[in-house]
């Protein structure tokens, strides 16, 4: 067993796993969706809402669909966002897992194991972080790392992102971000793989601009 190779690989792997942790925003088929009629109007309004958003606190439900097994893995927890780019994902059930992104650093806590990474050293990392922050805050349309297309249904606007980078495509072939049609809030993100598997994250009980203490994003 070549341990050094394995070690290097695990290091890289940890980075990637964090990347995807960030992307926690995925979605689905464009069933019932048609091409958005007024894209400029949507972009303006979504931006207005995003500009006014300083904090988001929300419950989330993550579904991982393993199609070949006909299984889904459902996990739930709490999500926090604070401008400019502090994020906290706290999985609470059926397992406990915490990710904090703050000031270009990523912190992961898994039981008694704690890990910290610097995001600045990794370009892909940074672009994914930007994508997350932009998605959550409704500014996703401005990210030129993706080919962006716009759709709508009776209740939702949907922005579909296809990564331009081939590496990125291996992890996620398509990302869909769903906005509520009245509030322009992001309600769901779906990340699809090249297989039929996907990860979907739904935001529930969303509260905007409540007091979110800074220490929610601090770590040792």
């Amino acid at each position: 067993m070549n341990l050094q190779i394995l070690k290097d690989m695990l290091n890289k792997l940890t980075l990637i796993l964090v990347l995807v942790a960030l992307q926690l925003l995925s979605v689905a088929q464009a069933d019932g969706y048609s091409v958005m009629k007024n894209v400029e109007d949507f972009k303006t309004k979504a931006k207005q809402v995003a500009d006014k958003t300083t904090t988001i606190s929300s419950d989330f439900v993550q579904k991982k669909i393993l199609s070949i097994m006909e299984e889904e893995i459902i996990s739930e927890g709490k999500f926090l966002f604070k401008k400019e780019n502090s994020i906290r994902w706290e999985y609470q059930t059926p397992f406990v897992y915490l990710i904090i992104i703050n000031n270009g650093e990523i912190f992961i806590k898994d039981d008694d194991k704690e890990n910290k990474f610097d995001m600045k050293s990794n370009k892909t990392f940074k672009s994914i972080n930007d994508m997350i922050v932009n998605s959550v805050s409704g500014n996703i349309m401005d990210d030129d790392n993706y080919e962006v297309s716009y759709y709508e249904s009776g209740s939702y606007f949907m922005v579909q992102l296809i990564p331009k980078d081939e590496k990125m495509k291996e992890y996620m072939s398509t990302i869909q971000v769903y906005f509520d049609k009245t509030s322009y809030d992001v309600v769901r993100v779906k990340m699809m793989e090249e297989s039929e598997d996907y990860t979907s994250i739904e935001f529930k009980n969303r509260v905007v601009n409540s007091e979110v203490p800074d220490n929610k994003f601090s770590f040792k």
Binding site: N2, L3, M9, I73, F95, D110, K113
Partner: protein, 213 residues
């Protein structure tokens, strides 16, 4: 550097002492077998895999740590094992088919012959891959009250330990040394709640904790 040298020296001594230690399989006596019929059978840790079993997985290799979720399920006669991160990123998708092993997906960073072979062996052992056709003997090992089942996997001996008709340990070994020890603990409703895979020849542990859904 000094402490590194010290460590290397220390481990060399440890290895030396370990290799001088008594061969755990010195007193193995074949009591019965080999047979390929129903007189001796190996019973898997999993009674029923028609519904997927989900485990929280913690992998430690040297000083690196990786955690995620491992799903095991029987699909069309194969045992399918998919490992993802907690956040949904897929690490690998393995199929242990009756006569073959298929890697349906592996994350680029894990796509290495050594890594894949180790994972294939470890996880294959947990899901009893290839055991159906193995010739089984029962052996008496000094210090063990019950007889132990033994098969051969390529160059390695595989020892299966049962307690109260439940699988509680599998050892992969050479003629002289233990290489991998897998324990199955805390059975509830015919599902082991804790599975531990420990490598003796280098630092690698996999801990699987059952997740009730």
């Amino acid at each position: 550097m000094k402490s590194r040298k010290f460590k290397v020296g220390f481990f060399t001594i440890l290895l030396f002492v370990a290799s001088c230690a008594s061969n755990p399989y010195k007193n193995v006596t074949v009591v019965f077998g080999p047979v390929m019929d129903d007189r001796i059978t190996l019973v898997s840790a999993f009674k029923d895999l028609s519904k997927g079993k989900l485990y929280k997985a913690k992998v430690e290799v040297l000083k690196n740590y990786l955690s995620g979720l491992l799903m095991i399920k029987e699909v069309k006669g194969s045992k399918r094992v998919i490992f993802t991160s907690e956040t949904g990123l897929k690490f690998f998708d393995f199929e242990f088919a009756p006569d073959t092993f298929i890697v349906h997906y592996v994350l680029e960073q894990l796509d290495n012959k050594h890594v894949l072979n180790t994972l294939r062996e470890d996880i294959g052992t947990v899901v009893f891959h290839g055991v159906e056709n193995a010739a089984i003997v029962q052996v008496k090992i000094k210090g063990e009250d019950a007889l132990v089942h033994r098969t051969k996997d390529k160059e390695d001996w595989m020892y299966y330990y049962y307690q109260d008709e439940r699988l509680n340990k599998i050892e992969r070994a050479s003629d002289k040394k233990k290489k991998v020890i897998i324990t199955f603990e805390n059975y509830e409703e015919d599902i082991p709640q804790l599975i531990n895979i420990v490598h003796k020849d280098f630092k690698m542990n996999i801990e699987l904790t059952y997740i009730k859904r």
